[in-house]
Symmetry: C2
Subunit: 320 residues, 2 copies
């Protein structure tokens, strides 16, 4: 097994040396997106899962690149759907070019992503399995994005609906990235399922952690203002829990149409009075434990199991 | 071999019985799109190519459905990109729902389309070949759409650039539909190539024919007003040829900012004076001949060769 940094370097090298076809007008937005400084978390998981199955990372580069292309495709299209003008400190593609270009270059990225798996150096049956996993992952991620958009139009969302949404939107791709990597080494059904559980639970933990950081994080570390979710009435783990536990206080805040700063302070006061930060952190721990237990039961080498445990801890910003 | 109508009925049955998952908000726009009264030309080609290779149409339904899902996906996204409010006499998805929904449901359609091939009852190697063909076709169609959008921003387009654009945007999918069908029967490389040439040339002939009909067709048959391409300054075979052969007369018309009716009449006068209708019809015949020659050289049964020749003639509205 290599380090996260080493796997990440392999991916960045593959991205830098990837050749695209013509015309430039179609592929420039793809190059621009892929050159953005993402953390390459998902393809790192693909490469690590491959090595955990004794497949050299060099052989699994194409599927890993496909996973990263797919992830960036979702960001590109999501930014149009969510009307988000920036991404990773740069203009979103639909802002830098236009909506039509972002749709089309995104469509091309999705086909380029599956093309990476089609062209990868594994047997036909293995590639069919990987393509099925890739495709089903994409369909689940789409459902997650749909729930996310549907929730925006609703005044109330239940906590279990929210967990399903983040499982689909965030967990499914972490799971798919691991599963595709494991499939390069013809992993057993049980091992693939263990990787799935690992990815799904890690994704849920990661998203709840993200919800906590939006309110209790550090602006400098976060790179964006605190309280954005509150200002945008975003149904997060914290907001949904507060609306369930203190519906009157929350309805009162919504009715008052407060300026951003005051609204953030008022909502945070409700969160604090309910002890929601600690409860949310317990939930993060609970999903983290599920993820780590799943990987411990996958029958990997000690080395590989340690990698995935460390990866999970570092994703949540935990040093252990 | 069956008739076009019989193959079309098989596809309509498959579309009607197709089960999609949840949520309805994601899949309703897909059902709506697929229920639109398309001619099912592309999946008919897939089924016919399969039967030409002695594969029963019933076994090739899934890849054919994938081809039709893909075609409808392109229409759905193209309507957003082209700002077209209607499609087949009904509201386009982005108008009936909104742009975000059209993007996401379209993305799901593309994954559903490749899923049809992944799930089809053919060997892994065959499915990999079909998926590669499907994927490369999608990438070429995207390039065609990109050229189409790029050409809209240009004042001049060369005739060979235009032919490449319609080959990519229209011909590639007719070719891919045939090739995927042929691959269900493990067709030889030469046969697949013959089908590719058939589809590409048929697509080019079909598009030039469409350009002619926009100016010289019958409004009732066409279902839309005559001269739309002229009003929108669309670079068609006729317009590009006129600008090459009579640049001064055409520049004069563009400079006069005429009302729609007068502009159509003025441009048509230039076309007539240059004899462009007859020249365009010769081009249609030339590409039709290439298509029919390709299929004649494919080594198909007389029955199958007759089907594809008849299909080509009926597509161009020719009775032979």
């Amino acid at each position: 097994m290599k380090t996260i940094r080493e796997y990440s370097a392999i991916i960045n090298e593959a991205i830098a040396s990837r050749q695209y076809g013509e015309p430039a007008s179609l592929y420039d937005p793809i190059r621009y997106t892929m050159e953005g400084q993402g953390k390459r978390l998902r393809p790192v998981l693909t490469l690590a899962a491959a090595e955990a199955m004794n497949v050299a990372a060099a052989d699994a580069v194409l599927p890993a690149l496909g996973v990263e292309l797919y992830h960036n495709f979702t960001l590109l299209h999501d930014d149009i759907m969510d009307n988000s003008p920036t991404r990773r400190g740069r203009l979103a593609v639909w802002k830098k070019w236009d909506t039509a270009q972002a749709i089309l270059s995104g469509d091309t990225m999705l086909s380029e992503a599956s093309g990476c798996i089609i062209d990868s150096p594994f047997g036909p049956s293995q590639r069919i399995n990987m393509l099925r996993c890739f495709n089903e992952t994409a369909l689940i991620v789409d459902r997650g994005q749909q729930y996310d958009m549907d929730f925006e139009r609703r005044s109330e969302v239940a906590l279990d609906e929210y967990i399903t949404m983040i499982e689909y939107k965030t967990g499914a791709l972490l799971a798919g990235a691991c599963m595709i990597g494991a499939m390069t080494g013809d992993a057993s059904i049980d091992t693939v399922e263990a990787f799935r559980q690992y990815g799904l639970n890690l994704g849920i933990a990661f998203q709840i952690q993200d919800d906590i950081l939006d309110v209790y994080g550090d602006e400098a570390t976060l790179g964006k203002p605190i309280g954005g979710d509150i200002v945008n009435d975003k149904h997060t783990w914290l907001l949904i829990s507060a609306m369930e536990k203190a519906p009157v206080a929350m309805a009162d805040i919504f009715a008052r149409n407060l300026p951003a700063d005051e609204k953030i302070a008022a909502v945070r006061e409700v969160y604090d009075s309910l002890g929601l930060r600690a409860l949310a952190e317990q939930e993060v721990e609970r999903y983290m434990s599920k993820a780590i237990e799943a990987i411990a039961a996958a029958g990997l080498s000690a080395d590989a199991a340690a990698f995935f445990t460390d990866f999970a801890n570092s994703l949540i910003g935990r040093k252990k």
